[in-house]
Amino acid sequence: MSTQSAEQFTQPTENDILRVEHISKRYGAVTALTDVSLRLERGEVLGLIGDNGAGKSTLIKIICGFQQPTSGRLILNGEEVSFSSVTQARAAGIDVVYQDLALVNQLTVYHNMFLNREPVRWPLLRNKVMRQQAQKHLDSMGIKTLKSVDVEVASLSGGQRQAIAVARSVFGNAKVLLLDEPLAAMGVKEGAMILDIVREVKERGISVIIIAHNYGQVLQVCDRVNLLQGGKITYDKYARDTSVEALTEMVVAEYRQALEERHRAAS
């Protein structure tokens, strides 16, 4: 484990919208998170990086209410909160976008955007209203890759689906948006489109946490970067104070250490 000197951490501000304090998560004998503290400033984009199995997804699941922490607490807008479901977290303004899970393939784009908050003139859905508002909202977010909001989601590319899912969360008045690997398996062009959307989301004053593997892309859009290693945050820097090389070095150091340990154990 790398050393935890104070200089590796940024200082909390008055402006933090979300604080995660000493969260741990155990599944039986397995410890996924040992002691995670993390903060998110209002309107910033925080990049969360770390090796596979470091606990990034577990942390996201806890923040969005999908799972409950073993210990520790969440503080939203200065008040302690605990969520027993995703719906509760969403009502409090925390929304999560998973790459493939969120949308219903067989429904049109506009039905997906309005899912579970459809306008109705009983007993019929107001499709025309939904279509118009969905189109307007996508336009306002600068999402122009769609031919029409009438197409089924099944016919969209990975980037387009991601765009729709993010747009839907913004549409649902999210204050904190969690993006779990929004750039995974995406080409350069689509990745750039998603980053543009993230910038647009930030401009609307929404705070974002992004899990990502591509440090170059992370630094393009993030204000701050946190590294999660072995169930702890071990590195926390503003993007302007770090670089792709520095981040790579951190992770390589971890690998080197692991290799050495294995070596030592073998001999």
Binding site: L115, T145, Q160
Partner: protein, 376 residues
């Protein structure tokens, strides 16, 4: 389908607009595209082609009033249970018990008529009582997590055994006072298909234009996603099971009026399987998320045409079964092929995607209801 680069060239790409170039027979293409983009398209086409086939092959009796009545009488009950089957299939389940509810329901109606209720009220109560079987199916399937194939097979046996017990496996006649009013409920040649068709239209609107329908599709298409969006998944499934059982009950009652007899050997598994065949060749997927009431109506029409047409040509019912089986396989191959085209955007002419091979496969699979990738 496998030729990715070909599609990538033809389709407009992510940001691009309409591909430059040929305007050749554009209107015709567009009309064809709009038609083929409807899930009901392939089965409608097949239904029309079958009419043409019987006309061209000189089966003149096929176009007589009696023959049409025959088709209509065949269709009525299957369309009604088909509605229920489409509902449960769209939300990713199946209901085999529906055919046994069909057997039971006229006995329940008979019981209430005997105890002094007017026929119409007895019908309504019998349908409501049978919806409780759907409640059982739904609760066991959703709350206890038993696969619906097993749940409904078991509840089907249960219901059938109960029916045989209360009837001592004996046919009974319709109560005399109900025969007259029964003309409205299947007693007349066209009454059953009219009921069935009106119900198809109503449930078409339910599936396409209401929250209930939207949630049914969502639950079948992406259960996790639906749950995360806050949809009460179990409630949707249970409701659809209840509607399926009610429709099975209605079909059984209408059949009893048609035959003017209540028969403990009516219904059962064969009618369910025929209903499933109609739904599936009509464009409803076995694994949820995709289904159409109108398509199912045409699917049952196709089965009716086959049955009537080959009957008129003197094909024995043994041979007919082979024809029916073969025809279903051929129709499904056509359906699957058209779905793939639809999924890859070639039929659309308005596709805006550049698909990866994997995504294309997934789209195609989604269209036909196979879905190993979903829920990863």
């Amino acid at each position: 389908m496998s030729d990715v680069s070909d599609t990538a060239e033809r389709s407009p790409g992510i940001i691009g607009d309409v591909p430059s170039g040929r305007h050749r027979s554009r209107v015709l293409n567009r009309a064809g595209a709009i038609f083929l983009n409807q899930r009901e398209a392939s089965i409608t086409l097949i239904a029309v082609l079958l009419f043409i086939y019987f006309w061209a092959s000189g089966t003149t009796a096929f176009f007589s009033h009696g023959s049409f009545v025959n088709i209509a009488e065949y269709m009525g009950p299957y369309v009604i249970i088909g509605i229920g089957l489409v509902l449960v299939m769209v939300c990713g389940e199946i209901d085999l018990s529906i055919g046994f509810v069909w057997t039971l329901s006229p006995f329940i109606m008979h019981f209430f008529i005997d105890s002094g209720l007017p026929t119409v009220l007895a019908i309504v109560i019998a349908v409501l009582v049978c919806s409780l079987i759907g409640l059982l199916n739904g609760v066991v399937t959703t709350v206890f997590g038993v696969p619906s194939l097993i749940t409904t097979l078991a509840s089907g046996f249960l219901v059938f055994g109960y029916t045989l017990t209360i009837s001592s496996a004996q046919q009974i006649n319709l109560p005399a006072q109900s025969v007259h009013i029964g003309r409205w409920f299947g007693g007349e040649a066209w009454s059953e298909i009219i009921w069935a068709s009106v119900l198809v239209l109503l449930f078409h609107v339910l599936l396409r234009r209401t929250r209930w329908g939207l949630y049914t599709v969502s639950v079948g298409g992406n259960m996790l996603g639906a749950r995360e969006a806050g949809i009460k998944v179990n409630r949707i499934k249970i409701g659809n099971f209840m509607m399926a059982s009610s429709l099975g009950a209605l079909a059984g009652i209408l059949e009893a009026f048609k035959n003017t007899i209540i028969d403990p050997s009516a219904g059962q598994l064969t009618v369910v399987l025929t209903g499933i065949a109609g739904a599936v060749i009509g464009g409803t997927a076995m694994l949820g998320g995709v289904g159409t009431m109108i398509g199912m109506w045409f699917g049952v029409l196709v089965l009716g045409e086959l049955q009537d047409g080959f009957n008129l040509r003197g094909i024995s019912s043994y041979k007919y079964l082979m024809i029916e089986g073969g025809a279903i396989i051929v129709f499904m191959i056509v359906n699957t092929y058209l779905s793939k085209l639809r999924g890859s955007g070639r039929l659309v002419g308005t596709s805006s995607t550049r698909s990866t091979p994997r995504l294309k496969t997934r789209q195609a699979m989604d269209q036909i209801g196979a879905r190993p990738f979903r829920g990863e």
